[in-house]
């Protein structure tokens, strides 16, 4: 019990240290406005990609429609905060987004999660496109023009805190009763059923939780960028999130963090290359996959506990 407390305290310390570090770098001017935007976008991508990793990496369900749930979060929060432009409004917006995305994920997930592999991918992609097309044609969402002048209620601090909270939720979920059941579905559905696991239920739990967290990423996007339109949430956005997950290593949360940073920084560096930027980006993507098909980190996970035990083992020797 004491040990657990210690590990948790170390994680908390790491989180606070990260915050202080960014704050300090911003104060002394190492991180300028452009750098801050890059960091915020990386943070939002981490939220989106870790939640997709929960669905793909841990539940083993190939979803290609994550941008749809992000869109629901973005529009919910944008609409709520345009009426209540306060921090409280943002929190309500977040909550509404989580509920809407979770509900839609439930409706989409119950029928489609029976499908396997690529069929599921294409069905979820279709579902996300349907969401986008509906947003594109509704009056309240202002159609293809989208929403603008959304109050800026998120800054890098908000994003940082939500990255920490969502990561905590996902990691703690994975290492609990429900999370282990979810992983058994990925490993072998028939074996899981044979020991009493209701595989459909756990697939849906993971899918809904992933969607709910993706909506948080969407809300942050809306209240930081301040303009959104349906084309921000198309197939390409789902693919961009997928790329982060696969590049980092499917099933590795640490890998998702690393990949989000690598791609975010790569994007920042490539800004100077103008039109050549996307050419270099795609080349980098192909080369990384060809030489490191299991992703940057494979399934490796950073763990304070292991770090400690390792040190202790060394100390004993």
């Amino acid at each position: 019990m004491k040990k657990n407390l210690k590990y948790n305290a170390i994680w908390l310390a790491i989180a606070i240290l990260g915050y202080v570090l960014i704050y300090a770098l911003e104060m002394v001017g190492v991180i300028d406005q452009f750098g801050e935007t890059t960091l915020v976008l990386i943070g939002i991508n981490i939220i989106l990609a870790t939640s997709l990793n929960l669905v793909i990496g841990f539940a083993g369900q190939f979803s290609l429609g994550h941008a749809g749930f992000m869109a629901l979060g973005a529009y919910s929060s944008a609409l709520v905060t345009s009426v209540i432009p306060t921090v409280g409004g943002f929190l309500i917006g977040l909550l509404v987004g989580i509920l809407v995305a979770g509900l839609v994920a439930l409706i989409v997930g119950i029928p489609t999660l029976r499908l396997n592999g690529d069929y599921l991918a294409i069905a979820t992609m279709g579902a996300a496109e349907i969401i986008r097309i509906i947003l594109n044609n509704l009056k309240v969402t202002n159609g293809p023009a989208g929403l603008y002048n959304i109050p800026m209620l998120a800054n890098w601090g908000t994003v940082y805190i939500l990255v920490v909270i969502t990561t905590l939720i996902i990691v703690n979920f994975v290492h609990s009763r429900n999370g282990r059941a979810v992983m058994s579905v990925r490993e072998d559905e028939i074996a899981a059923e044979s020991i009493g696991i209701n595989t459909t239920k756990y697939k849906i739990i993971a899918f809904v939780l992933g969607a709910a967290i993706a909506s948080i990423g969407g809300a942050l996007h809306a209240n930081y960028i301040q303009t959104i339109n349906p084309s921000d949430f198309g197939i390409m956005e789902s693919i961009n999130i997928l790329i982060i997950v696969v590049l980092g290593g499917i099933g590795s949360i640490t890998g998702t963090f690393v990949a989000a940073f690598v791609l975010g920084l790569l994007d920042m560096v490539l800004q100077n290359f103008g039109t050549l930027r996307m050419v270099l980006y795609s080349l980098a993507l192909i080369l990384i996959m060809v030489f490191k098909p299991s992703g940057l980190l494979g399934t490796w996970e950073f763990s304070v506990r292991r770090l400690f035990n390792h040190k202790k083992a060394k100390g004993d020797a």
């Binding site: 019990m1 009493g196 209701n198």
Partner: protein, 258 residues
């Protein structure tokens, strides 16, 4: 007392009848073997009993604490929850998870951890995890695997993988354990170990065991009763002695007779 009652169970695959009109029963705390030549439909029968395949006709009912429960057309996880656990001929472990996780997952139903307490790592979460951990260790120590908690299932030697699959099934606290060729691929020494282990499980956990096996020495040593399946039909039932001298069984195995 009859624990599992199977009546006129039949499965047709298109025009082929894989299991035909099988009526059998399993009593409390009994060790029964199911034998038969290759392709006789033994695994199909297992799959019917455990819900992996839905029977075309017939009923499977289990005596549970809530009385007699009809199990056919139930989802496999419900059948497992009712008290029937199994292993697989071609080992189906959760290969990329640890030994401990493999067993813990089988305890999901008994684990009362809530979503909120696990997300926020409340003290009650750690208490429940510690209690479960203790149970896993106890269970694994019966099989001398308590030192391999952190090993990935895929890295276990073959015999240990078979044992882990049995542990995983036992962790669901079943009334009946179905073992599909537990000795397949084992050497005589390992088979002898396994024989002792199965006896130990049956007496210690007070459960009923139904096993499919080709190793006749194991079957004749262990089984109290034997069912013989050929071409999807039961052709004999009896004690090992009776089966050994049954002309139809001998014909089935040697390919002679009618």
């Amino acid at each position: 007392m009859t624990l599992l009652d199977v009546k006129a169970l039949t499965k047709n695959f298109g025009g082929l009848t894989a299991v035909s009109n099988v009526t059998m029963h399993l009593d409390n705390n009994e060790l029964v073997a199911l034998i038969g030549p290759n392709g006789a439909g033994k695994t199909t029968l297992f799959n019917l009993l455990t819900g992996v395949i839905i029977p075309s006709e017939g009923t499977v009912s289990l005596q549970t604490e809530h009385g007699l429960q009809v199990l056919n057309k139930q989802k496999p996880y419900k059948i497992a929850a009712a008290g029937m656990a199994r292993t697989f001929q071609n080992i189906r472990l959760f290969k990329d998870l640890t030994v401990e996780e493999n067993v813990l997952i089988a305890m999901t139903d008994k684990n009362k951890e809530g979503f909120v307490e696990s997300i926020f790592r409340l003290p009650s979460f750690y208490r429940k995890e510690a209690a479960l951990h203790q149970q896993v260790v106890e269970l694994l120590s019966i099989f001398k695997m308590e030192n391999q908690l952190e090993t990935l299932a895929r890295n276990l030697p073959y015999g240990a993988q078979r044992r882990l699959e049995i542990v995983r099934a036992l962790a669901t606290k079943p009334q009946i354990l179905f073992l599909d060729e537990p000795a397949a691929g084992m050497n005589p020494e390992e088979t002898a170990d396994l024989t002792r282990l199965i006896q130990q499980i049956q007496s210690e956990f007070h459960i009923t065991v139904l096993l499919i096996e080709h190793d006749m020495s194991l079957v004749m040593n262990l089984a109290e009763r034997i069912y013989v399946l050929e071409y999807g039909k039961l052709i004999a039932e009896g004690t090992p002695k009776e089966i050994q001298s049954n002309q139809r069984v001998i014909n089935a195995y040697l390919g002679g007779g009618d």
